[in-house]
């Protein structure tokens, strides 16, 4: 999976450079998020701008990251959801669990 990471010393931005976040590639995102929180990062934004399709495995990888963050008093925020991705969050009611922002800048500022 193509993930681009930017760390400005305060916030780590994880850009998912894939059209699909599904059972084929979501394990890598799950592991990357786990690695970041284990390394002591406390503010992580996952940018989903390029993702137009997400399945239950993709949602599961983000939930795993969210739980990992919560257990360490760290934060995980999401940004730039396309409409079809947003509708999957709403269907599974996960939009009430995650902090979701329209842009990366808004997500970073919210920390």
């Amino acid at each position: 999976m193509n993930l681009k990471l930017e760390d400005n010393g305060q916030v780590v931005l994880v850009q998912v450079k894939e059209e699909r976040l599904d059972a084929h590639n979501s394990e890598q995102l799950k592991q990357e998020l786990s690695r970041l929180f284990e390394a002591g990062k406390t503010k992580v934004v996952v940018d989903l701008k390029e993702v137009r399709f997400i399945d239950s495995s993709g949602l599961g990888a983000l939930v795993s990251g969210f739980k990992n963050a919560s257990s360490r008093q760290a934060g995980l925020k999401l940004s730039s959801l396309q409409s079809q991705v947003k509708s999957m969050f709403e269907l599974t009611r996960l939009h009430r669990v995650f902090d979701i922002y329209t842009t990366v800048d808004e997500a970073i500022e919210a920390f």
Binding site: D22, S87, T92
Partner: protein, 144 residues
């Protein structure tokens, strides 16, 4: 009588790398459904999602991740409904043992268990039953 307009049959190896291919084919098909009066773009995404979920169940659970196995997908369009079938050759799994409500999935914040809930929410019916040589997960959506 239900008239069959389109019947597609696809076999792919039991590997998740083929999810994207099946997803794209099903989205293109959904956009061609003349008898569906709702939002075809949304339907295309829904079909992509439910087929992905069904395929992952077949690949990982029923066929136990065996890369030499295969899964078969059959998509049938009649003038009244769309039928999606995913055939596996494995020992199957218990559909009812998978958590299928949003409350279950959210309260527990489980990493897994949302697949069946998504399939049941987006389709009119979801059943799983044994056939010769394996099992089939069958989903139906009425056009109405």
């Amino acid at each position: 009588m239900k008239k069959t307009q389109i019947e597609l049959q696809i076999k792919v190896p039991n590997q998740t790398r083929y999810l994207s291919l099946i997803g794209r084919i099903s989205e293109e098909l959904a956009k061609q459904l003349q008898n569906y009066t709702g939002d075809r773009e949304a339907l295309a995404n829904h079909i992509n999602v439910v087929l992905t979920e069904a395929l992952v169940n077949a690949i990982r659970h029923a066929n136990a991740n065996d890369p030499d196995e295969e899964v078969e997908i059959r998509i049938t369009v009649t003038d009244e409904e769309l039928v999606l079938q995913v055939f596996d050759h494995g020992r199957g799994f218990n559909l009812e043992s998978i958590s299928s409500t949003a409350e279950d999935a959210q309260h527990e914040l489980e990493d897994h268990g949302r697949g069946l809930y998504i399939m049941r929410s987006l389709m009119d019916s979801v059943v799983y039953y044994p056939v010769e040589g394996g099992n089939v997960l069958e989903m139906r959506k009425q056009f109405r």
